[in-house]
């Protein structure tokens, strides 16, 4: 889902600056899990996609899914990273939803390092690393209030255990809440456009944790940060960061300092609560995973993945913005929805870029159906030269999406096509003749009577006239 609600840029108190880095886990949409042949699918009955390997049964061994590695390398290249030889490691800690009580991940030698991504407004955010790891199962706590503290028992679903993840760690380059949201959106756009993840935050296939700190503007220090987890939407991401930043500022203002810790975002109450402190955090005792061999992709493999890379959102935004004569930021939504190909085709068939983007943004959120570039261009031309009002164009567009066809005949079928300026001229002539006093006041510059004439014309045309065209005709007539 796209967050289209208007954003009011929150302001930190004067003199403070945000410092945010994001850690994003995304599930790769491979057919099977990272180390076994079990189906990688969301929503199946609990514990139906499991086998000895992903249940971590004694004696089982992992076998690396080559397409997960390909996906991860594609993602690394899309994030402008260097793709390296890599080594899997074990991250050791006890948790009931983790079948082996260690997680296979990449530690000091990750697949991708040192990249960046460009936000629609041109901001560049550094990517420190993007490494492959396995997902854990999912616990449900039963009895009591359903929270872990007073549950009577827990149920574990291991369908998710062993699903391939890539964790993308940004550098602490993010300075505004809006940039944090844009980063998450942009990453999601990249993930879906290169077809490596469905990146659905609500299904947990994309999970965002925020490392938040603040500092006085002008300083380049990195102060104590808190990692905020349990953020379930891009909207929550903004709220959580804003809350956390203000919490830090309040502490500094009262002479205290934040404690480095993991905090949980509580969306219902709009606040974060203290989790594990970093001081008593676990020692994960990483060591190289002896059941797997090091990954050493050849240059040819990496080149082949790079060559097969589809155009990325930032390149697509620039291409569409150039064609439409607009700013890159203003075509972001269209690109995110994957409608840029149609937009470019319509523009190259002669359509006005602004009209095309306006319709795609406002009227085509649910898809473009049977709409072709040619009919889109024809419709835009009719709207541009006043043959159709914006309202009429939207009606014709709805029909084009539903069943295709020729916009001229659809407009005719709706009775729109006769509404040329000749007919409006005639109506206006009659109105001037019938209301000479009012017309005189309009000519003398009394704009208050303009609404009267427009209203009369709309009434006479049953609302089919284009308000802009009516205004233009009245101006011309008054002037000359």
């Amino acid at each position: 889902m796209t967050d289209t609600a208007p954003v009011v840029e929150p302001t930190l108190p004067d003199g403070w600056e945000l410092v945010v880095g994001l850690e994003v886990h995304c599930e790769l949409s491979t057919a099977t899990k990272l180390f076994c042949g079990c189906r990688n699918r969301f929503g199946d009955d609990p514990n139906t996609n499991v086998c000895p390997v992903c249940l971590g049964l004694p004696g089982s061994l992992p076998v690396l899914n080559g397409s997960a590695v390909d996906y991860a390398m594609r993602l690394g290249l899309a994030l402008n990273c260097t793709v390296n030889p890599a080594v899997f490691a074990r991250k050791n800690y006890f948790y009931p939803d983790m079948p082996k009580d260690y997680q296979v991940t990449q530690y000091d030698l990750p697949t991708s390092t040192d990249g960046h991504l460009e936000l629609p407004d041109g901001t560049v955010v550094g990517i420190e690393r993007a490494h492959i790891e396995e997902d854990t199962g999912k616990s449900t706590h039963v009895g009591g209030s359903g929270r872990i503290h007073d549950a009577t028992h827990s149920l574990v679903d291991y369908n998710r255990a062993g699903i391939p993840l890539v964790e993308i760690v940004s550098r602490p380059d993010i300075r505004t809440v809006e940039s944090a949201r844009a980063y998450a959106s942009e990453l999601r756009a990249i993930l879906t456009s290169i077809d490596v993840s469905d990146a659905k935050m609500e299904e947990g296939s994309m999970r965002v944790d925020a490392n938040v700190s603040v500092r006085p503007i002008g300083s380049d220090e990195l102060r104590t940060r808190c990692e905020v987890k349990n953020i379930n939407s891009i909207r929550s991401l903004g709220r959580a960061i804003e809350y956390e930043a203000n919490r830090h500022i309040d502490l500094y203002d009262s002479g205290q300092t934040p404690r480095q810790e993991t905090r949980h975002w509580d969306e219902a109450n709009g606040r974060s609560t203290s989790g594990r402190s970093k001081e008593d955090s676990e020692d994960y005792r990483y060591f190289p995973e002896p059941d797997l061999v090091p990954l050493d992709p050849t240059g040819a493999q990496v080149d082949a993945i790079a060559e097969a890379m589809p155009p990325l959102p930032s390149a697509r935004r620039h291409a569409l913005a150039d064609a439409a004569g607009l700013e890159a930021g203003s075509v972001a939504l269209v690109v995110e929805r994957g409608q840029d190909e149609l937009a470019l085709a319509a523009i190259s068939a002669g359509a006005d870029g602004g009209i095309v983007i306006k319709h795609l943004e406002n009227n085509l959120a649910d898809g473009t159906g049977e709409l072709t570039a040619e009919s889109f261009a024809a419709l835009a031309a009719m709207e541009a030269d006043g043959r159709l009002s914006a309202t009429q164009a939207k009606t014709v567009l709805t029909d084009l999406v539903a069943s295709g066809g020729d916009p001229t005949s659809i407009a005719a079928a709706h009775g729109f096509e006769a509404m040329d300026t000749g007919e409006l001229d005639a109506i206006l002539d009659r109105l001037i003749a019938d209301n000479p006093d009012e017309w005189g006041r309009f000519v003398d510059g009394d704009r208050k009577v303009q609404g009267f004439f427009v209203g009369q014309i709309m009434k006479a045309t049953k609302g089919q006239a284009d308000g802009k065209v009516v205004n233009m005709l009245m101006q011309q007539r008054a002037a000359g």
Binding site: P52, L55, G56, L57, P58, G59, S60, L61, P62, V63, L64, R90, N92, F94, P96, P99, K100, D101, Y102, S154, V156, D283, R285, Y286, F287, P290, D291, L292, V293
Partner: protein, 477 residues
């Protein structure tokens, strides 16, 4: 009754003996001595009879059941057998029945073998005497007041006692070769990756390797060929078919170069008994008499092997054994919350030696200690590989004792773990390097108990190793 596996298989394939009769004969021997020896955690009498009948039916139908047709094989109880308890001699897994077979079990079955039981071991293969079993120790069939060695003591004893002509063990630091030496049978640690580990309950993944026990080198070679070869389910499996180790057994050692490792033969490490050293010298002379060039040579870093091993193996074990947490299978001791349940389960489920190694390994991997312990141990490992590489530029194989002493008394070393660990000093370097090594029974010590001589070969040198072992075997009176 035929004693070698090859004789049994040949008779069964020819229809001269029934697999069922072979099984009954071995079950009878088990009936006579198992109470005294305690080689098995489980004798699979019914399954073995059923399986033998299937082999006989195949022969009757004119099809070949395979190179191990009707041969009883004893299986170390750390390899998964579908639906049959697989315990690792641990309370924590006492009730666990795997839903799948280990690759080695599948291959044994495909070769016509009959699994006759699951053998005792030191819990999770951690030990050198099979005294660390939750189900009681195994005794050495040559003298039941003595240990059979370990950790695959049950498998070694089963072959030595005539319970089965063949057995499989696993060798992480000598756990096949050392009990083979102490029980007077052949024991093999193949090149790391030659035999699939799929279905082997892990102790130390980078060192574990499954290997055969047999009375003869030829039998061991046949079993090796049946279980080795690439397995796509084990990422560390060598992507090649099994080495044809039986093919050169008779070719002798004329012109081969043999180095006797001086550090393991009285010239470095303390505690190698003089009667054991003497048997190695006899073996070296025999190879020289058969046409090999034999010299003493130094592999300096082998003396650090023991220390490196007792950091790397426990480190990997601490991670491999984390999964026994009471959540999904095996023992569960309830507690007020998950963490308390984990602790109660592991406290009750693991024996002292397992707990000791989990703690040692956890410590070795801890932040701030990693470089000093685990990291340094890995550098020693590299050093040992380099030293072996230098030695193998001059020699085709190396020779050493398998175990510093003959079988010791039950209980003699239980109180002092370090004394027990020293048992593996000669065998550990091959595991650290990933190289193959074999223990060949070569006479007896001053106490009349068996002595094993170890033949070490370079990576993928399994064929040469078997060939030299066969020559040694022929040199015995």
């Amino acid at each position: 009754m035929a004693t070698t596996a090859l004789e049994v298989a040949s008779a069964v394939r020819a229809g001269e003996r029934s697999a069922r009769a072979v099984v009954e004969e071995h079950l009878a021997v088990i009936g006579e001595r198992e109470a005294e020896v305690h080689a098995f955690n489980l004798v699979m009498a019914d399954e073995a009879r059923e399986r033998a009948d299937a082999v006989d039916a195949a022969v009757a139908a004119g099809s070949d059941p395979g190179p191990l047709a009707g041969v009883p094989v004893a299986l170390k109880d750390n390899m998964c057998t579908r639906g049959v308890p697989t315990t690792c001699s641990s309370r924590i897994l006492a009730q666990w029945r795997p839903p799948y077979d280990a690759t080695t079990v599948e291959r044994l079955t495909a070769a016509g073998a009959v699994i006759i039981g699951k053998t005792n071991l030191d819990e999770f293969a951690m030990g050198s005497s099979t005294e660390n079993s939750a189900f009681g120790p195994t005794k050495n069939p040559h003298d039941t007041s003595r240990v059979p060695g370990g950790s695959s003591g049950g498998s070694a004893a089963a072959v030595a006692a005539g319970f089965a002509p063949l057995a499989l063990g696993s060798d992480t630091g000598g756990s096949v070769r050392q009990p083979a030496a102490l029980c007077g049978v052949v024991g093999v640690k193949p090149t790391y990756g030659a035999v699939s580990r799929y279905g082997l309950l892990a102790f130390a993944s980078s060192l574990d390797q499954i290997g055969p026990f047999a009375h003869t080198v030829a039998d061991a070679a046949t079993l090796y060929e049946a279980i080795a070869g690439h397995d796509p389910r084990d990422s560390t499996s060598i992507p090649e078919p099994a080495a044809p180790v039986s093919s050169w057994l008779d070719d002798g050692v004329d012109g081969m170069r043999v180095g006797v490792i001086s550090e393991l033969s009285g010239g470095g490490i303390e505690g190698i008994a003089s009667d054991v050293q003497a048997r190695v010298r006899v073996a070296a002379d025999a190879l020289a008499a058969a046409g090999a060039t034999v010299e003493e040579t130094s592999v300096p870093s082998v003396i650090y092997g023991l220390t490196a091993y007792y950091l790397i193996a426990p480190a990997e074990a601490s991670s491999n054994l984390a999964r026994y947490d009471g959540v999904r299978y095996g023992l569960r001791v309830d507690g007020p919350n998950t963490e308390a349940m984990n602790v109660a389960t592991r406290t009750a489920g693991f024996g002292d030696e397992v707990k000791r190694r989990i703690m040692l390994g956890t410590y070795a991997l801890s932040a701030g200690y990693y470089d000093a312990y685990y990291g340094k141990a890995q550098r020693v490992r590299t050093l040992i590989i380099d030293d072996f590489a230098a030695a193998y530029e001059k020699y085709d194989v190396l020779l050493s004792p398998t175990s510093p002493t003959t079988a010791f008394e039950l209980g003699a070393k239980v109180a002092d773990p370090m004394t027990m660990y020293v048992n593996d000093v000669c065998t550990i370097p091959s595991n650290l390097a990933g190289h193959p090594a074999i223990s060949v029974p070569y006479g007896v010590g001053d106490d009349g108990l068996p002595v094993g001589v170890q033949v070490l070969a370079p990576l993928m040198g399994d064929v040469t190793m078997f060939r030299v072992a066969a020559a040694l075997e022929r040199s015995l009176p």
